[in-house]
């Protein structure tokens, strides 16, 4: 177990160190999120009532589109110098690599989510403070669900020529339960409804997370094998 944790940690450490130095993914995601917000701002306009109805969808559209970009780059560093082959050749439990890659993706996506939420409050002049605890729960659970499958599918498509096309086509249908639950829970949280009113959506999210995570851990080794 300790070896598994060390192996997973070294993968996160490596990915975050490379990202800190290259800043390729975070910079791209930040500017992409900014661009999305501009488009949303023009599309929705200043109508507060209209904004209240569309905000949960817009928020998650932003998270998911930037998430797709970030997740699609999960194994970019491994393509350089054939590191992908070297990962395969390392003896031992490959699921530690999956957990490490997933943790790196979750951290990156949560950073983008925090930035997006902050930018939303500025662009749309809204006060998210009362809904922050509920939003935090939805964002963490939603990000974990998105990243669990996303990391696995990124590995599946890493050595495919049309990976940029194939990755979202594979990922989005599987994400339907997560998308549904996150948007509904966010809508309720932003409307100030009591926790009991959207607890079932959070339960659905948690269940989807557990299923996706276990499926990822159990199947990653087979995805990696030639």
């Amino acid at each position: 177990m300790l070896t598994f944790a060390r192996r997973a940690f070294i993968v996160v450490w490596k990915d975050l160190l490379i990202e800190r130095r290259s800043k390729e993914t975070l910079n791209a995601l930040f500017f992409f999120a900014l661009l999305l917000l501009f488009v949303f701002q023009f599309a929705v306009g200043p109508d507060r009532e209209r904004l209240a109805g569309t905000l949960p969808g817009l928020l998650w559209l932003g998270f998911i589109l930037s998430g797709l970009l970030g997740l699609g780059r999960t194994f970019v560093a491994e393509r350089e110098n054939d590191c992908w082959e070297a990962l395969l050749l390392v003896p031992g439990d490959k699921s530690a690599i999956y957990v490490g890659k997933l943790a790196g993706n979750v951290l990156l996506m949560l950073t983008v989510a925090v930035l997006l939420l902050a930018l939303f409050t500025i662009f749309f002049n809204i006060d998210l403070a009362p809904a922050i605890p509920a939003l935090a729960a939805v964002v963490v659970l939603g990000t974990l669900g998105l990243a669990s499958v996303g990391t696995l599918f990124a590995a599946m498509t890493a050595s495919v020529r049309a990976r940029e096309l194939l990755f979202p086509v594979l990922l989005l249908p599987v994400q339907v339960p997560v998308l549904l639950a996150t948007v509904k829970a966010t809508e309720a949280a932003l409307a100030g409804e009591p926790f009991a009113a959207y607890a079932h959506w959070l339960q659905l999210l948690a269940a989807a997370d557990v299923i996706y995570l276990v499926a990822g851990i159990l199947t990653f080794e087979f995805v990696l094998e030639p």
Partner: protein, 239 residues
């Protein structure tokens, strides 16, 4: 009595679509032996190494390393081998030290600072330990790639064109390193199409042509000219 071979390849066939790259290849490599596999471009040298490294599954036949079947027990094989292929297997945005730490930890080796420094000194990269690999030459990357096996110590080294891109000093270093690896009981299979220093390291020369080993002979029995003549003869046969 001769010891059991550490590597045994029997009737190996590999096809990609309709193209048969390897066809009935047999090869044995004993403990402490180095075999240079010579062949023209596209002869199947890299495919053979990839089958032995468990990166490519054979279509037919068997390949075993230290008794582990490459197709049925790839994890067992991976514990015994080190592969140095065309890619250097290093991350460009990490330093040499960080690359070693990463690969050693992933392989389950607890790496002390002294061991890491020692490995880098062995490949003469101690002065560049804290420099990012992005600034390294191809030869330096290849040496860093080999430093991983100073730490992990596999029983078998699989080398694809190991001397390519190395300067004279690095070639000499690699030759000495491979000789000491053999002396320590390690076995080597190296694929090449050149007649340089690889042949000095090799105990046996196997010429790959037409998907099979066309000639397998002890290195001592052949002069460099003999090797070139045999190579030309067999690779022309294959065309």
């Amino acid at each position: 009595m001769a010891a059991d071979p550490l590597i045994r390849v029997t009737g190996l066939r590999k096809t990609f679509g309709n193209h048969r790259v390897l066809d009935g290849l047999d090869l044995d490599v004993r403990v402490g032996e180095a075999v240079a596999v010579l062949g023209a471009n596209g002869a199947g040298k890299t495919t053979l190494l990839k089958v032995l490294a468990t990166l490519v599954r054979p279509t037919r036949g068997t390949a075993t390393v230290a008794g582990h079947d490459c197709a049925r027990d790839p994890e067992g094989v991976r514990r015994e081998i080190g592969l140095v292929a065309h890619g250097s297997y290093v991350y460009e945005d990490l330093t040499a030290s960080e690359n070693l730490t990463f690969w050693a930890t992933l392989a389950g080796v607890r790496l002390s600072a002294a061991a890491r420094a020692g490995a880098l000194a062995t490949v003469e990269l101690d002065r560049a330990a804290d420099e990012r690999v992005r600034t390294f030459s191809a030869g330096m990357k290849r040496r860093l790639s080999l430093a991983r096996f100073v730490l992990v110590r596999p029983r078998v080294l699989l080398l694809d064109e190991p001397f390519a891109g190395l300067d004279q000093r690095a070639r000499k270093w690699l030759e000495e390193h491979l000789a000491s690896f053999k002396a320590g009981g390690g076995s080597i299979v190296m694929a090449t199409h050149s007649f340089g220093r690889e042949l000095a390291v090799a105990d046996r020369i196997a010429i790959l042509a037409g998907g099979a080993i066309a000639l397998d002979t002890p290195r001592g029995a052949l002069s460099a000219d003999d090797v070139q003549r045999s190579y030309a003869l067999h690779t022309e046969d294959a065309c």
